[in-house]
Amino acid sequence: MELTLQAFSTQKLESVLEKDINLVACHSDYSEGLKSIEVNKASVVLVEHDEKNADFEQLLKGIRDKSPESKIILLGEGISDEVILRYILCGIYGYLQLSCINEFLNKSIKCVHQGEAWFSRKLVSSLIESVRA
């Protein structure tokens, strides 16, 4: 299955992406991105975190509604575990720190595309502990 990618980001991603990842669209404007995701149905969607946007969870839900098969990876820096948990509950499959883009962007996209998750084991452990407590 072809690996297509759509990004909601201000980052320059093209130079980092490997050739087998097809970047179909990149928008820094959320509403434009939401319009095109319905058409693109990219297999993986990168969404850069915007802490000033109070409706960020709505954006994640919007992506899931318009393209339920797309797997979302959140890009951000220093986001607390509590906030990541909220976004997991909104359906993200991964979280990649902006500072790790050069090192892990391709790997995280491919892992998520294959149905794996991209979160730290520590975060997953804390979450499981909470759920089963």
Binding site: V83, L85, I88, Y93, F119, R121, S130, A133
Partner: protein, 223 residues
């Protein structure tokens, strides 16, 4: 005192692992499974590696975990649902027997360091499981109104603390924002956990998500 206890139904089943671990850890192979329940191994630094063939029902995992805090189940071809059940019932990890030595040594080190060890491809399913449980809304008949009403017993200060926790604010930053001490923040959190019957910040967030309450102050305070 050993680091690793190994329990296998068939003597040779995990013997290659015992050889692999012996360089790094002090291992004991349990001759009798009932030795687990002796109370001798109730120590955070001890990990039990148990053959999945020993597990007759899922409740047994919970029972074993009452005696040994860290348990890793090892099996062959165990399906993902069962792996998740092992973890949710108290095991700290599951590994397929066929993984190589380096991976299992990483798993053991991770579990001894309080992590949960699961194959990466199982994690989304586990997360999905959690997300599925969080689809309730106020308009949905599964919405728990009794839990929602419980929020009204919180004090104004506790509600302010909860809203900051929900935003991912650390205890020290909460103290700064509310101009109170760290100790007072912890006292408020303890009271919140007790009143809402949750044990930590993650459970608190899951509860609020279940109740679709993003900003408690808007619902319960005149803001």
């Amino acid at each position: 005192m050993p680091n690793l206890l190994i329990a296998s139904k068939y003597k040779d089943y995990l013997s290659p692992w015992v050889d692999a671990f012996s360089d790094v850890y002090s291992c004991v192979v349990l001759e009798n499974i009932d030795d687990i329940f002796s109370g001798e191994y109730d120590d955070e630094k001890i990990l039990l590696i148990i053959d999945a063939a020993y597990i007759e029902n899922i409740e047994q995992i919970g029972h074993i975990c009452e005696y040994i805090k860290k348990v890793v189940v090892v099996g062959e071809g165990v399906n993902e649902s069962l792996q998740i059940q092992f973890i949710l019932s108290g095991a700290s990890g599951y590994s397929d027997k066929s993984v190589d030595k380096a991976v299992i040594l990483r798993a053991i080190a991770g579990v001894l360091n309080d992590e949960i060890w699961l194959e990466r491809q199982v994690i989304p399913r586990l997360l999905k499981n959690i997300v599925e449980k969080n689809k309730f809304s106020k308009g949905n008949k599964e919405f728990n109104y009794e839990e929602y009403k419980l929020l009204s017993i919180l004090t104004r200060r506790e509600i302010e603390v909860i809203d900051l926790v929900y935003k991912g604010t650390s205890n020290s930053d909460i103290a700064e924002v509310l101009k109170i001490s760290n100790r007072t923040v912890k006292a408020h959190l303890s009271a919140i956990y007790r009143k809402l019957n949750v044990s930590d910040r993650f459970q608190l967030i899951i509860l609020l998500k279940n109740l679709h309450v993003a900003h408690l102050a808007e619902d319960f305070l005149d803001v």
